[in-house]
Amino acid sequence: MAETLTIGKALNTGLRRAMERDPKVLIMGEDVGKLGGVFRITDGLQKDFGDERVIDTPLAESGIIGTAVGLAIRGYRPVCEIQFDGFVYPAYDQIVSQVAKMHYRSQGKVSLPIVIRIPFGGGIGAVEHHSESPEAYFAHTAGLKVVSCSNPDDAYWMIQQSIESDDPIIFMEPKRRYWEKGQVNVDTASAPLHVSRVARTGTDATVLAYGPMVRTALDAATAAAEDGRELEVIDLRTLSPLDMGPVYESVRRTGRAIVVHEAPGNLGLGSEIAARITEECFYSLEAPVLRVTGFDTPYPAARVEEEYLPDLDRVLDAVDRSFGF
């Protein structure tokens, strides 16, 4: 059965399904209760599941993640909401030193099936700390898995798959796309959690994106097609571990790759992907892998964020540059 949902509503419905299925699933965070979260992703859940399962926490991110660790040791499956990307850092120690490592340190005796939901990225005209893309910090951290959804169907399924997984998962939500609609197949998942997926086939160059930039990449592909260039767009979906198989396969065909993300380019996901593609597809590359990313500045004031963020034009410009080699 297919339903038309926004990404936000798909997440909300996915969370509800997960809570119905497993009484151990908890929602924790700031304002997740009556308010339903500042983006309403947890709307209605406290009303229906009670405040023992949907917990408005004190205002402290380290406390949220640290107590989630304890709840997980006790057998619960906490889904923690971080209100905005820029507010995850107070919890950084608990995430990288505790959540990421406990399974390893305990030689598998302790699993922490914690999902940390982070609405991320810019483009919403917000003030500072509300538009960041911290995914590389987590992807660089062994012991965490990191995923990002780009459309309602993935939002619906990936959040459920993440909650079902025993791995600790950083779940990056494309906040500027929360209101975008799409078809959700509520009966069957179209893919497992940790695979990337060709979102549009093409032959001339491969564009890699995730989260909010998938739409941008697809728009660029549409525009390029008008100019006679067929771009293949891959939605990475899983940022750690990366699922590079489909990427290599594509780049071997197209000979060109462009990675797009909002996060600053320096040590962003693009650098890792570029390095891996070059190692694996060295003799297939017609040009170096190019990166279209946020600049290496703090996220700027909202009135210049459009210039900061990769857009259709900058993707096409990179495609042109790739063909210039």
Binding site: G33, V38, T57, L59, V127, D296, A301, R303
Partner: protein, 377 residues
């Protein structure tokens, strides 16, 4: 010894309407006495306090309106908290330093900063670029609690500079909300300030909510109790009483500048509006609660007092209203004509000494932008 005094004081605030707090002016506008606190304002000073409350509220309302009309990205209104902000803000002496959250437009105003500044930030034109050292007022801080450590470090520096121990001493005030008290940073600031006996006043505006979360999500005892566990005095003040806010803050700052170390003030108040313009408070609180607080309005009570005491009359009130209106019109006009920043400026000021990588990115960006010129893009 002074420390002991101060501490005792915490528990001797006279029996007052629940909850117990320092109050000098009742909601009805009657002046009440307090054993430890008083004010001796001239009539002129009383009128000027009233003026500030009214102007600050009006400017705030104008900002809210500007946001509704799409001119600001978001706005965090101070409605209801004018007394806490103007009272404490005016208690600062020239040499004192303040570290705000994102809601201290009233304190900012008292520090003499052009009220347009926070609107630039909330419009997305900049990130709050006044000079903290020029105005002795730090940058707005959105990450909850972070500024309390900055304030404490600054206060340690005041001590190192030998600027503690006399009437000329400097004191530092850190603003934060009830929600912020749960952050590790705020508690660490309490520890640092007490261990180093820093000249700090921790000023917590307990406006009863952290976005949607009521106070009970942060504490099960009154917030001002927190201080005693860290070894310094804490007290609660009627946050809607500008006289009491002034008196307790002035005293705490003066204690700090004289070397008596930190203290915590909990200004018991209420956020009358939404958390920000993005918020919908009807989801989590009931109208009757808001109405009950309406009766405690900080401006109404000062006006009643000025009226009853014949310190000011209708002419004065009308004149203040007019002044506020003009200020609001001016603010609006300046917002509407505010130019957007040059996109290239996004590369500026990342580092004091710059970076060759950024120079290159700026250059590439300029070239890229230039490629659109004339293309109608």
């Amino acid at each position: 010894m002074a420390k002991g005094d101060a501490k005792a004081r915490t528990h001797t605030t006279r029996a007052a309407p629940e909850p117990a707090f320092v109050q000098l002016l009742t909601p009805e506008g009657d002046r009440v006495e307090h054993p430890d606190y008083t004010v001796d304002f001239t009539d002129e000073e009383y009128r000027s306090l009233y003026h500030d409350l009214v102007v600050v509220r009006k400017l705030d309302a104008e900002a809210t309106a500007l946001q509704r009309q799409g001119e600001l990205g978001i706005w965090a209104s101070l409605l209801g908290q004018e007394a806490a902000q103007v009272g404490s803000g005016r208690a600062l002496r020239t040499q004192d330093m303040a570290f705000p959250t994102y809601r201290e437009h009233g304190v900012l105003y008292c520090r003499g900063i052009d009220p347009i500044m926070p609107l630039r930030l909330f419009r997305g034109v900049d990130q709050g670029a006044w000079d903290p050292n020029e105005f002795k007022f730090g940058m707005y801080t959105i990450v909850i609690g972070a500024q309390t450590l900055h304030a404490t470090g600054y206060a340690m520096g005041v001590g190192k500079d030998g600027k503690v121990g006399s009437d000329d001493g400097e004191a530092v005030i850190a603003y934060f909300g009830d929600g912020a008290t749960s952050q590790g940073d705020v508690n660490e600031a309490f520890i640092w300030a007490s261990v180093f006996n820093a000249p700090m006043v921790f000023f917590c505006q307990n406006n009863q909510y952290a976005i949607s979360e009521p106070l009970e999500r942060q504490t099960r005892v009154p917030l001002y109790h927190r201080a005693s566990g860290f070894g310094f005095p804490g007290l609660r003040v009627d946050g809607n009483d500008v006289l009491a806010c002034y008196a307790v803050t002035r005293k705490a700052l003066d204690d700090a500048r004289h070397g008596q170390g930190p203290s915590l003030i909990e200004a018991y108040t209420y956020r009358m509006g939404a958390h920000t313009t993005s918020d919908d408070p009807t989801r989590y609180r009931i109208a009757s609660e808001v109405e009950a607080w309406q009766a405690k309005d900080p401006i109404k009570r000062l006006r009643a007092f000025l009226d009853k005491q014949a310190i000011a009359g209708d002419d004065f009130f009308a004149a203040v209203d007019e002044e506020a209106r003009v200020a609001a019109v001016d603010l609006r006009e300046r917002v509407l004509t505010m130019p957007d920043p040059d996109p290239r400026s996004l590369f500026d000021h990342v580092y004091p000494h710059g970076s060759p990588e950024l120079d290159q990115q700026r250059e590439q960006f300029s070239t890229y932008m230039a490629s659109f010129e004339g293309s109608g893009h």
